[in-house]
């Protein structure tokens, strides 16, 4: 003892190594947990299966056979209606949905599909710096949003304008963000399409891919715990987290699914599989059965749905939500399939890596909006005239909001420094003063008129 002390005095003084309990005491504290685990999986003598923690209930076999993905059937894709808007399974009941709700879903998809080409063109004309369309994926965003509770928390990637639209972000909300004006809640800081809204329970979109996935698991855990601690104030909620099949290659995807499964987090991981990550086709992105097959590997309930079928997306999301909140809670993975018919973004020209012909054929083949419209027309809910009126009305509303937002001033210059920390630091204050000093001494060199209160806005 005295020898040890003289040999490693520094180590023993170091608080990092200071154990609050003696060693046997610590063992006594963790022992029950270890025992509980071991007791639940006793390795009985003569048993026909593995009972170790790590591979529960695995049978012993004398046949040496590797599991080969190629021998397994691909996971099926859930569908409610076909391309003609008719029920695939004639024996099932029509979707359980009011006319009012169908009309809302349809009109919200229309808004996104009308806004997209207008903003795309505006970017081409240099009136905004960037844009991304959702073409072909409107049904995924709107359909899933329609099955969530408005209080459910959303983390998005960037091709989910339909979720914002469904929750009531409004055209002014979109336009103020796209033009990064003083009314933008992101304070003019983010690239276009990086929307966010605390009121709508949607976190602000962040460009780095897949970072939102483990955050969604943590947020879901927080919701679960908050409910447990105080069920009166905190009703049960889920997190819905959207991401592309490309983003699912990031380490964060795997981290997220695993921690969500082990901590039983009420989170819906919602993958939009559109066949491409910029130029990279899925064949070069993964070799497994889509993203869905991975959910199973993490012990997560998983479903694949037809992304062009709003009802399938809606029903699958509703069920996923129900599963997520059952019992001790759990994560669910949904993979919605829908080909990306547009360019990745305004920075991309997809004819460089795929045949325009191929895209055209996908466009003709299927579309979530057309499918729902056919279903509605068959029910007398919609017709050519209503369509024309709606298109005209939405287009006019988009252009009006566009004009309003484009005319607005940019945010005050001081916002350049605010919100880095809760309070502006002393060093930043000095930098603000230095910038102001430059603007004042070289007034001809800077154009600050577009910003709220000009240089005084610093």
């Amino acid at each position: 003892m005295s020898l040890r002390r003289s040999v490693r005095p520094l180590l023993r003084q170091c608080s990092l190594y200071h154990m609050p309990q003696t060693f046997p005491e610590r063992i006594r504290l963790v022992l029950p947990a270890i025992q509980a685990r071991a007791q639940s999986m006793p390795q009985k003598p003569g048993s026909d299966r593995v009972h170790f923690p790590g591979a529960v209930n695995s049978k012993f076999t004398t046949v040496m056979a590797f599991a080969r993905p190629g021998d397994m059937p691909a996971m099926p894709t859930y569908r409610v209606m076909d391309q003609d808007g008719e029920l695939v399974d004639k024996s099932r009941a029509q979707p359980d949905i009011s006319d009012e709700e169908v009309l809302k879903i349809y009109k919200d998809m229309i808004v996104v599909s009308v806004m997209d080409p207008i903003m795309y063109q505006a970017q081409r004309q240099g009136r905004l710096s960037f844009y991304m369309v959702s073409a072909g994926e409107e049904g995924i965003a709107v359909g899933s949003a329609s099955a969530l509770d408005p209080a459910d928390v959303v983390f998005a990637q960037y091709r989910e304008a339909g979720v914002f639209q469904y929750r009531g972000f409004g055209l002014d909300g979109f336009m103020n963000q796209l033009f990064a004006n003083r009314l933008d809640e992101g304070r003019g800081r983010n690239m276009p399409v990086h929307y966010g809204s605390a009121k709508l329970n949607i976190h602000t979109i962040s460009s780095p891919l897949a970072t939102q996935l483990p955050q969604a698991a943590g947020a879901a855990y927080a919701l679960k715990l908050a409910h447990k601690l105080d069920p009166e104030t905190n009703k049960e909620r889920v997190v819905c987290c959207y991401f592309g099949e490309g983003a699912a290659s990031e380490g964060d995807f795997h981290a997220a699914l695993n921690v969500a499964a082990t901590r039983s987090c009420p989170v819906i991981f919602f993958c939009r599989n559109n066949g491409f990550a910029i130029s990279t086709p899925t064949l070069e992105q993964y070799r497994g059965d889509g993203i869905a097959s991975r959910g199973v590997g993490y012990g997560i309930d998983t479903i694949r749905v037809d992304g062009n079928d709003v009802f399938a997306v809606r029903e699958a999301t509703a069920k996923a939500r129900e599963l997520a909140l059952q019992g001790e809670n759990r994560p669910v993975l949904v993979e919605a399939m829908s080909y990306r018919v547009a360019h990745h973004s305004t920075s991309d020209d997809s004819s460089k890596y795929r045949e325009v012909r191929e895209v055209e054929s996908w466009k003709r083949r299927d579309n979530p909006i057309v499918r729902l419209r056919k279903w509605m027309e068959a029910r007398g809910l919609w017709n050519e005239e209503l369509e024309r009126e709606e298109q005209t009305r939405v287009k006019k509303a988009v252009l009006e909001a566009f004009g309003r937002a484009e005319r607005e001033k940019l945010p005050a210059l001081r916002l350049m420094f605010e919100d880095v920390y809760e309070e502006v630091t002393e060093e930043q204050e000095q930098q603000i003063a230095a910038l102001k000093d430059v603007l004042e001494r070289y007034p001809a060199e800077y154009d600050v008129d577009g910003y709220e209160r000009g240089k005084d806005g610093l």
Binding site: A180, M191, G251, S279, E284, L415, A444
Partner: protein, 345 residues
């Protein structure tokens, strides 16, 4: 106070620094990669969206010309790309890995800092190091990239012994420095200012050539003030130097570090001992930036020669907000003003 005759809000055109104005295409990165791939079978090229030419067209036609075994798309995973590259480098290949934007290199931080940088030291006499690895990434601001398409993360890497950090200022420099980086037996982070891809024309020799790593270049000489910079802001530095010379008759020397770490201390110190005044300029935030290292070295090694405190003109200590970007970056006015400050001190 004289009015300046330039608009600081535009990005200075690279050709201003150049002697020759031939009309070669800007894709010198492409030509350097082509040369490396054709002269050394151990050179590989991969990353996200590489195969069709890359989002900045740097790898255009290379997959077709050199085959999918050596030039290929990876899954979308930066930690995977860099770890994969380190493994190949440790096995004798010379992988050139592309990170689509420097802003997205962080998932690979562990691989770069704990693995690439430390491999040689850790492996000792086994000599299984990560030399031959080059990680290319577009960096810096272009006016509308906001938080995640504007970053200059070089200082995060210059803090790490074992990594070489290179930032070329122009197409011709990029070609020579990239070939030297691929030939280097140390891991190199090669940050390409996006302005490189837009530079309309510069005389870039067709034949291959290497420019030395860890060697700065004096772009213009002067006896009164030394400006130390690298990458995009150099164009603004030269403009500001010209204006200052004209307006208050000072001679301004401009030094391009080219390799940010390990850096050419001798070149900078010789210059400052001569001029007695120094201004360091970079886009990355000023706090704990490259400027801090350069300024500290100058005051430690050339204190008695200094006529004024070393100035830093850099990004402010904040993030790049979309509509604020032009006020964030060091521009001609702020550099000009700093030259005035050190002169009038």
């Amino acid at each position: 106070m004289a009015t300046l005759r330039f608009n600081p809000l535009r990005i200075a055109r690279p050709q201003r620094l150049l002697v020759s104005h031939s009309s070669s295409r800007p894709y010198t990165i492409n030509s350097a990669l082509r040369h490396a791939l054709s002269t050394d079978d151990s050179v590989l090229l991969f990353g996200e969206d590489i195969a069709f030419g890359g989002v900045f067209r740097c790898s255009a036609n290379l997959a077709t010309d050199f085959g999918g075994d050596r030039v290929f798309n990876t899954p979308l995973c930066e930690q995977g790309i860099v770890g994969f590259a380190i493994g190949a480098a440790m096995s004798g290949f010379r992988p050139v890995a592309e990170i689509q934007f420097a802003d997205y290199v962080y998932p690979a931080f562990d691989q770069l800092i704990n693995e690439a940088a430390k491999a040689r030291f850790r492996a000792g006499a086994t000599n299984l190091h990560a030399g031959g690895l080059v990680v290319r990434m577009p960096a810096g601001a272009v006016g509308h990239g906001a938080l995640y398409h504007s970053q200059s993360p070089e200082a995060l890497f210059t803090h790490v012994p074992g990594l070489r950090v290179v930032i070329p200022r122009s197409p011709a420099q990029a070609k020579g420095l990239l070939l030297a980086s691929i030939a280097s037996n140390d891991p190199v982070l090669f940050l390409e200012p996006k302005i490189l891809y837009r530079a309309a024309r510069e005389h870039v020799p067709v034949e291959p050539y290497a420019l030395p790593l860890s060697k700065a270049e004096v772009l213009r000489t002067g006896s009164d003030v030394t400006i130390v910079s690298y990458g995009t802001p150099l164009y603004a530095c030269v403009d500001a130097a010209r204006a200052a010379e004209r307006d208050f008759g000072v001679g301004v020397e401009v030094i391009d570090l080219r390799t940010i770490y390990p850096w050419d201390r001798a070149c900078v110190l010789d210059s400052v001992r001569k001029t007695g005044r120094a201004v360091v300029v970079h886009e990355a935030p000023v706090n704990a930036g490259v400027g801090a290292e350069v300024a500290a070295t100058i005051q430690q090694e050339a204190f008695l020669n200094l006529e004024a405190p070393v100035q830093r003109v850099a990004g402010w200590s904040t993030h790049v907000g979309l509509v604020f970007e032009k006020f964030m970056m060091p521009d001609v006015v702020r550099i000009y003003d700093a030259i005035r400050k050190v002169t009038e001190y």
